[in-house]
């Protein structure tokens, strides 16, 4: 399902804290990679002719997978390309990403998808999977040829950005998706409740005079899609959950045996709507930042596995679009290059989440949801590794981004921990 090159690098990573929470490994070890495959894990390994990376004091973990990236290609290559987006992902410690099909044209046709995958084979720094649209043109009425798209390599289906309004159409999509075996991912938003909304419908929006985007605008659609998944006995993946009510619905669905998974973004885990008081357009995203109680619910759900994945919803926007007053700005922020460091700084260091939990939710969690190979540190596995300096401290600056866009919610902030090296599909794709 992933497009892009694989590598045959020969490397010995020397003396890192090797940490794979799923495999139960946490020890200071060497890891030898032969021809892009993990060949040996142990102490004082022979280096042969391999490149040696001195990793004393650093942490070597399974590389990350981001199931929710807007690559803006085709159509808005000024904002992001396959090359720049995957370079940004590599810098953030990712070994694979999934791209969202709300492009121009929409990825709703097998030939368009094949063309895009061929471009990714040439341009992508790390492997990329492409989700295809659920409905043609994402207009919510007519299903795409989902089986043909799956055969052409679609990694799943979503109408993210323009969610399927009709319950009947969504029900048919879930039913038919049994044929593809891929995941349907849903952006839950009831448009009649959120139109004109620019921020969470709470006290902050009331004081700022911003149109409200209520929690119910998400949770009502979450409830609908969970019920439809239950009724059709199909799986559904809930994208970027933001509200406590949505988490509550998901817990009940799990108890009822519904096959449902969910993701949360670093910005929803780290920020509340207090952040929009500055009227900085880089604090404007969809769904909006909510209140502290919602943030706590997301963290609890991530901790106990109810939310199994962290996704950035990396949404590049050009300066012309985002460098405007808050109300005029489009939704969306970038996140690929800052995701781990932001979570480390705001949640792991203060003791809110364990390092192991975050590593799992950024790697094995999303892999399992979308049926991708899990990055793992075991002999025989393709090398998909990230080397992290948890003692590093750096300031987020525009000129440091690999992404073509700079609409980060962290501009100017000092973050702790930094990705020093990323190995994706057996080759070094990023190093500092």
């Amino acid at each position: 399902m992933l497009a892009g090159r694989t590598g045959t690098d020969n490397i010995v990573v020397r003396g890192a804290r090797v940490l794979d929470p799923v495999e139960g490994i946490d020890a200071t070890l060497d890891v030898r990679i032969d021809n892009g495959v993990i060949a040996q894990i142990g102490e004082n390994l022979d280096t042969n002719e391999h490149r040696v990376i001195d990793a004393a004091g650093l942490t070597l973990a399974p590389a990350f997978i981001d199931p929710h990236v807007h690559l803006r290609t085709p159509g808005r290559e000024d904002e992001e390309t396959i090359a720049s987006g995957t370079a940004a992902a590599a810098a953030g410690g990712y070994c694979a990403i999934l791209a969202i099909p709300n492009t121009d044209p929409v990825i709703d046709d097998a030939d368009v998808l094949r063309g895009l995958r061929a471009r990714a084979d040439e341009e992508a720094r790390i492997p990329v999977g492409f989700l295809a649209a659920i409905t043609k043109g994402q207009d919510g009425s007519e299903l795409t040829e989902m089986a043909a798209l799956a055969d052409a390599g679609a990694a799943g289906f979503t109408d993210d950005g323009r969610p399927v309004a009709s319950a009947g159409v969504m029900r048919r999509a879930l039913q038919y998706n049994a044929v593809t075996g891929r995941m349907i991912a849903v952006h839950c938003e009831e448009a009649s409740l959120t139109c004109g909304g620019h921020a969470h419908a709470g006290t902050v929006a009331a004081e700022l005079g911003l149109g409200g985007w209520p929690s119910l605008g998400e949770s009502l659609m979450v409830a609908r899609d969970l019920d439809l998944a239950g009724e059709t006995a199909q799986a559904v993946h809930l994208m970027h959950l933001s509200a406590r009510e949505s988490v509550d619905h998901l817990r009940r669905a799990h108890e009822a045996g519904t096959r449902a998974t969910a993701e949360a973004t670093p910005h929803h885990l780290c920020l509340t709507d207090e952040a929009i008081r500055t009227l900085d357009a880089n604090m404007k995203m969809n769904p909006p930042l909510r209140c502290e109680d919602d943030r706590a619910a997301l963290i609890d759900a991530l901790r106990d596995g109810t939310i199994a994945a962290i996704a950035t919803d990396h949404a590049p926007h050009s300066p012309e679009e985002k460098d405007v007053p808050f109300e005029a700005a489009p939704f969306g922020v970038t996140g690929l290059e800052t995701s781990f460091a932001s979570l480390y700084t705001y949640l792991i260091e203060p003791g809110v989440l364990r390092l192991e939990t975050v590593l799992e939710r950024m790697s094995a969690g999303p892999a399992a949801i979308f049926g991708l190979d899990r990055p793992r540190i075991v002999v025989g596995a393709q090398a998909n590794l990230t080397l992290i300096d948890t003692a590093a401290s750096w300031r987020v600056k525009v000129e440091r981004f690999h992404s073509r866009s700079q609409n980060s919610w962290l501009l100017g902030k000092r973050l702790h921990s930094r990705v020093r090296l990323t190995i994706a599909a057996g080759r070094v794709v990023h190093e500092l």
């Binding site: 620019h198 709470g202 006290t203 009331a206 004081e207 700022l208 005079g209 911003l210 149109g211 500055t278 009227l279 357009a281 012309e320 460098d323 405007v324 007053p325 808050f326 109300e327 005029a328």
Partner: protein, 324 residues
């Protein structure tokens, strides 16, 4: 209430930093007291035949209006002139904005004239904050979407204090579409700052939560000292918006009529009024109305705001004050 007494050391504006007036939320109670005191001293200057003061001679004040406005733009322009500043008013219609120029480019272009103050009105929340980040000029928010209109709130405080002799402990019922009103947002914050209470009264879907107590029952205005009537914007009545079923229904339920007013209450309106919709003509033209006083206050309060932003010394304007 003599003017010079309130101008104490604790009322001095902060020295030497670039200051803006973007939101009432940025002000302290001391700031409000200082501005109202300054306005009061300017009121005396406006009773003379020669109403012009030399205070801001050589300063440049630009008024940039992206939305239609009569009283706000005219009173800012007159306030600047009365203080002897150079001033220009630019309207979106007939300027480069018509040609698609972005707010950023307009702000940078105007900043090239080195204005001391940019007064901006814009339909989008955050526009004044945005321009303040782009320019070295001091920025006065003359209304940004549904967010803030701080000089309106200050002139309302001034008007109420002149009518009642105090602000502390007064009750103000703000009636109408508070949801879409920057006037209501600024006024609620300003009233809280000076120890007065606000209640929002109107159709349930037009009452924002979390700003102030709310009621959809018009009879609750009986407790208020001031009934502050908001303009009912006709665009909110568009088909399908459903905030209220019709203007006729709004008027029947929430229109301010003589029958709904109590003896001793005063009524205010930020203008422009829809007579016969949110306010009955008999109320608007009655002795209870402070609506013309608001316009008069607008001039001197805006003079005070411009003066305050461009000076760092004491605000006592001794030469112009004629202490009774």
């Amino acid at each position: 209430m003599t003017d010079l007494r309130v101008v104490g050391g604790d009322l001095l504006p902060p020295a030497n930093e670039k200051r803006n007036l973007l939101s009432i939320a940025d002000l302290t109670q001391g700031d409000v007291e200082r501005l109202l005191a300054t306005a009061r001293s300017f009121a005396h200057s406006q009773e003379r035949d020669n109403k012009k003061l030399p205070t801001l001679r050589g300063r440049l004040i630009l008024n940039v209006f992206y939305e239609s406005s009569t009283r706000t733009s005219s009173s800012f322009e007159l306030a600047a002139k009365r203080l002897s500043a150079d001033t220009m008013t630019l309207k979106a219609v007939g300027s480069s904005v018509d040609k698609g120029e972005s707010l950023k480019d307009t702000a940078l272009t105007l900043s090239a004239y080195d204005p001391d103050v940019i007064v901006i009105r814009h339909p989008e929340v955050g526009a004044a904050d945005y321009v303040a980040r782009l320019t070295d000029a001091r920025v006065v928010n003359a209304g940004d979407g549904k967010h803030q209109h701080p000089t309106q709130a200050l002139l309302d405080l001034y008007t109420i204090r002149e009518a009642f002799g105090r602000l502390d402990g007064l009750q103000v019922a703000i009636v109408g579409d508070a949801m879409h009103s920057r006037v209501a947002r600024s006024l609620v914050q300003a009233l809280r700052l000076v120890g007065a209470d606000a209640i929002l009264v109107g159709p349930p879907a037009l009452l924002p939560e979390g700003l102030a107590p709310t009621s959809h029952d018009i009879s609750t205005i009986a407790d208020a000292d001031v009934v502050y009537v908001l303009r009912m914007q006709r665009e909110r009545m568009l088909e399908g918006a459903n905030f209220v079923p019709s203007l006729r229904e709004y008027t029947a339920q929430w229109g301010i009529t003589p029958e709904r007013m109590r003896e001793g209450q005063r009524v205010m309106h930020p203008g422009p009024m829809n007579r016969g919709v949110e306010i009955d003509a008999r109320v608007a033209d009655s002795d209870a109305a402070l609506i013309v006083d608001q316009v008069r206050s607008g001039l001197i309060v805006r003079m005070a705001v411009l003066y305050d932003l461009l000076t760092t010394g004491p605000v006592a304007v001794e030469t112009t004050v004629e202490v009774a």
